[in-house]
Symmetry: C2
Subunit: 273 residues, 2 copies
């Protein structure tokens, strides 16, 4: 094989890194691919680190140690994040989104891949270094954004169901108060998670936190520790649920005496760098 030129190498490396978010790729892999010494690969990586940083396209880092290598994280700057979330707020504050009964139509935004990808990347942000083993969501609307969050963190997605299904094998079922005076059921396959793991809960929407508390109770049944909760949209006021940190992209407030919501970026999204 002819020597692969630097321009070609960085193209290939960037593509590989983008396709493997939050995974540490050993330098040796690139050394073998390109039949190159580690020092040359290091120089390539340094250029990629710099370019990605300069253009605000995520984070490329070298991780040292025995299991070391290079890692890409899809984390943008605070200002880019805020401006994305502000655009979402503008869309959600459009009057035609209000449905009878004071509900907000957001199913379309929650199923637009380029938006949920971005939401997932942002929601993953506070949890990159938290040793998360899997993302947990409750069916249905939050699944796309939870999928993207799980991909950003490079962990499996686990989906709790409203009822146990024969094709999921034996399951643990719990009943939980839905926050509206009723009782709901949540089910998870026994083989889906293991005792001692750490979960990040991701969902699209939180009003009173009934479903979120249900998921926390379900995880307790499995001996799983919940590291935090991330939502696309949550009711203003809930900073903690069951003493766990809550990271919504946006908060909503229902206006007194009106069937209208006002949506704004959550404080942690607004904080400067």
């Amino acid at each position: 094989m002819d020597k692969v030129k630097r321009v070609e190498r960085v193209i290939v490396m960037m593509r590989v890194l983008c396709g493997m978010p939050n995974q540490i790729i050993p330098y040796s892999r690139f050394c073998e691919m390109f039949q190159l010494a580690k020092s040359s690969v290091s120089e390539d990586v340094a250029m990629i680190e710099r370019a990605v940083k300069t253009w605000d396209l995520g984070e490329v880092e070298t991780v040292t140690g025995a299991a070391g290598g290079v890692r890409f994280r899809p984390r943008g700057s605070k200002s880019a994040t805020l401006s994305f979330v502000q655009t979402l707020c503008e869309q959600l504050n459009a009057p035609e989104r209000m449905l009878p009964g004071g509900y907000l139509y957001l199913s379309d935004l929650l199923a637009e891949p380029k938006l949920v990808r971005r939401m997932g990347d942002i929601l993953a942000g506070p949890y990159f270094d938290q040793g998360i083993d899997f993302v947990l969501t409750m069916e249905t609307k939050g699944i796309p954004v939870a999928t993207m969050t799980a991909e950003a963190l490079h962990v499996p997605l686990v989906i709790a169901r409203r009822a146990s299904k024969v094709y999921e094998g034996s399951a643990v079922n719990i009943n939980f108060p839905d926050g509206k005076g009723g009782i709901e059921t949540m089910s998870l396959a026994r083989r889906a998670v293991k005792s001692g793991q750490r979960a990040l809960i991701v969902d699209d929407f939180m009003r009173r936190g009934g479903t979120a508390r249900g998921m926390i109770a379900l995880m307790a049944e499995f001996g799983v520790c919940v590291a935090g909760l991330a939502f696309v949209l949550a009711q203003d006021g809930e900073a903690l649920i069951a003493d766990l940190p809550v990271h919504p992209l946006m908060y909503f407030k229902t206006e007194e005496g009106r069937d209208a919501m006002v949506v704004r970026p959550a404080p942690w999204v607004e904080q400067p760098e």
Copy 2:
């Protein structure tokens, strides 16, 4: 601004392209970013095209015409696709995956982001040039793979529900035979799709095609044309449903007199280049 060097430019361009699958990015965008003439950007793109092709990392193409530019499609070689699907088959053929009653446990694979991303890229393959407007799936298990397919095609995902929900606004409900002698209901928000659009149906699993035919009937109610159906796993034998092409990654066959399935790659996946 100092002139941006080629190595830096191709890193940035590759990252932008990977993040925007199946979208045509005008050359002018890169010309502006780098304060560069179109001829230099063309040379950069040619290098990226070549590198991505050489290393089997997808497809970068120049699209000519008024709305022209450069486009990335996450399409791998036939041989890489087949070997990925063969690995999936091996995992699914493991005896511990069989559940009582002849069911196969595949929820874990369907929620592993790095696997569903790859599945979605492959399922999108035959439909890149088919003018698809959205991907339709029926809740729940197929949502992650349908999300990834929609992202690869750069179209919205639309999720049919088992019952209409107040937060989705007015909806169209249909009843359909589930293929097991019963009747099921499927619901879709009125505002989710428009008459005259073209849909690709994506789902995780098809046995008798009841749900698939339900989705086709639902689309007929909306005046939407279905271009085809893509599944992760389908029962052997169904080459067409309602005269529409069917693209499963894998076929399964239930062994006579045994509670066991045999899973193998679908013929279109096995075909040589």
